[in-house]
């Protein structure tokens, strides 16, 4: 089976994210926020630590339950789907590092086929093809029998993306896929995500702190500042000064001319 995509986007309406604690307090990350990601595009989430990027992504993958609001994958509301149905439309790569000893790359990526395999997880011919193709797409061909604990951080991140690819979902959600990586690896991962969206029909939403990569390789950006979502193309957000708001209350400024961050002391 080929890793094919369908024209499925993400649509979020009236989303309130936050954490309640027992004593009636808690923290609201955003209120009544909305976001739309068009099919077959890459949208990058930007925002300072603790603004709710991970919580938003986890809500789409339904690992977290939002306080209010609706998340649609294509036409379907996430909360209405069964675990199995959701697993066939959304795949998720979290920041959690899976470093199991003796787990081969092939077996790891094969776990992505879980929604389609039988009771014991046996890969059928079509599953094996999807796994092989996913490994090939992320450039990890030849590593199949290697243990994931023997890989570098960049290689392991590729394997995690391959696992999500093997899941064969139209929508992929990734939480800081370029964290812990060196500069060439960051660009390579971001380029890989771009090509998955543009050439392989995926709809991709990922978060990062890497402004330069995001500005160059995102179709659209979504900035979360003080609980508000501002979306637009990188150019638009540079022009209307939204990017600058990322650096409020810090000694940094953003220079729209060079698209670079400056330190002003």
């Amino acid at each position: 089976m080929a890793v094919v995509g369908t024209n499925t986007g993400i649509c979020i309406k009236g989303l309130t994210l936050g954490y309640k604690n027992g004593s009636g307090g808690g923290r609201i990350l955003c209120r009544e926020a909305g976001l739309e990601v068009a099919p077959n595009t890459v949208c990058v989430l930007l925002g300072r630590n603790g603004t709710g990027k991970s919580t938003l992504l986890r809500s789409i993958a339904r690992v977290h339950t939002p306080l209010t609001g609706e998340i649609f994958i294509g036409e379907n509301a996430v909360w209405r789907m069964t675990d199995r149905e959701l697993s066939e439309v959304v795949s998720f790569v979290s920041t959690e590092i899976v470093n199991t000893r003796n787990l081969a790359v092939w077996d790891m990526v094969g776990l992505g086929r879980a929604p389609y395999t039988n009771w014991i997880g046996q890969l059928a011919e079509s599953d094996s093809q999807a796994v092989a193709r996913a490994i090939e797409l992320v450039g990890m061909g030849g590593f199949e029998r290697k243990s994931i604990s023997s890989l570098s951080d960049g290689e392991r991140q590729r394997v995690m993306i391959a696992r999500a690819l093997a899941q064969d979902t139209p929508v992929m959600v990734l939480d800081e896929p370029t964290a812990f990586l060196d500069v060439p690896n960051r660009y390579e991962i971001a380029l890989l995500l771009c090509s998955l969206a543009h050439k392989h029909g995926k709809t991709i939403l990922y978060s990062t702190h890497d402004l330069e990569v995001a500005l160059q390789l995102a179709d659209r950006l979504c900035l979360i500042v003080d609980g508000r979502f501002s979306t637009g193309t990188p150019e638009e957000l540079i022009q209307n000064g939204v990017i600058d708001t990322l650096f409020e209350r810090s000694p940094l400024t953003f220079d729209p001319a060079t698209k670079q961050i400056k330190l002003t002391l």
Partner: protein
């Protein structure tokens, strides 16, 4: 690099042969050693010396079956717990599941005469013991898991498990202290733990429920593989994590609880055997680990019991001391090497 399929099958065959050899030795060795030829004759139903026949049929064969059952059960439950807790040091003994079973059994054994329950039929009483062990181990497992989701640190979870287990053991000792003499005797006999003290009706209950637990473990292979990625990932792959967790609790309770009910608490098999299996098979896939852990668990348990018999001597060591001495070096090796399994 992983082992090839051929090497893996060879290892399976090797351990199966080892199982057969140890099973034979378990039957032959003891305070009175029988020649292996005599054991073989008896096994294939040929003419045998009547005393040997009585010894084999009423004592050694049941004990060998109990050893195989207990070894496979404790290892399978240890493997499940290590994957569920994502903790290489998890196991039914260290996380207090065995202590929970002990508490359940002691409440039951001491409760019967106190409440004057008319449980005269032996098999009803034995089922009661097993049921009490299940309730006790399931309760402890639930408490430890709830605590473990709040404290993620591997060592902290382990210490918590040991604390909760010690608490249960303390309660057991209080019960022992308060209990009437009539109940005390049957209880003290039980706490000493042995593979040989299992009656034939107990043997049936043990084998039946452990078989159910092992079957459940086989059906847990795919969910356990997904849990290698953690519960969040497992959920995004379509797994109903709550149902899976309940099934793992049920499996562990059936396996570790039933064994503890009839053999007493047996230490370190559940934690050590999955590690031995991982070292030998160099694999993380439960399709390999689960059957291999059961097989190696049975082999190790038989081996421990053969040592415990002190062949040629008139003494028998408590099985718990032997399993501890065999298992502890493995656990220490795991801690010292700080193996990252998860």
């Amino acid at each position: 690099m992983q082992l090839t399929k051929k090497t893996r099958n060879l290892l399976f065959a090797l351990f199966a042969m080892l199982l057969a050899v140890f099973f034979g030795l378990e039957l032959a060795l003891g305070s009175v050693s029988l020649p292996l030829g005599e054991v073989w004759n008896w096994l294939r139903g040929a003419e045998t010396d009547p005393t040997a026949r009585a010894l084999l049929g009423t004592f050694r064969l049941p004990k060998a079956i109990v050893a195989v059952t207990a070894g496979a059960a404790l290892s399978a439950s240890g493997l499940q717990m290590q994957t569920l807790f994502r903790n290489p040091l998890a196991g039914p003994y260290l996380l207090g599941v065995s202590s929970g079973a002990s508490l359940g059994v002691s409440l039951f054994l001491i409760g019967i005469p106190v409440l004057g329950l008319p449980l005269s039929a032996e098999w009803v009483r034995n089922l009661g013991v097993a049921g009490a062990a299940w309730v006790g181990s399931a309760a402890i497992l639930t408490i430890v898991f709830a605590a473990a989701t709040r404290v993620k640190e591997i060592m902290a979870v382990l210490i918590l498990g040991m604390m909760i287990g010690s608490g249960a053991t303390a309660l057991v000792e209080i019960l022992q202290y308060l209990s009437p003499e009539s109940a005390l005797k049957s209880f003290v006999v039980w706490t000493m733990g042995s593979l040989g003290g299992v009656s034939s009706s107990q043997l049936w209950i043990l084998v039946l429920f452990v078989a159910a637990g092992l079957l459940l473990s086989i059906f847990l292979i795919k969910p356990l593989n997904l849990l290698l990625l953690g519960e969040s990932y497992a959920r995004t792959l379509g797994q109903n994590t709550r149902r899976v967790r309940t099934m793992i609790f049920a499996g562990t309770t059936l396996l570790a609880g039933t064994v503890t009910a009839f053999c007493g608490p047996i230490a370190f098999i559940g934690i050590a055997v999955p590690h031995i299996t991982r070292m030998v098979f160099r694999n993380a896939d439960h399709r390999v680990l689960m059957p291999a852990s059961m097989l190696i668990g049975a082999v190790v348990m038989l081996g421990c019991d053969i040592i415990a018999q002190l062949p040629g001597m008139d003494m028998v060591l408590p099985i718990n001391t032997v399993t501890a001495l065999v298992g502890i070096p493995v656990v220490i090796a795991v801690i010292v090497k700080n193996h990252k399994f998860f």
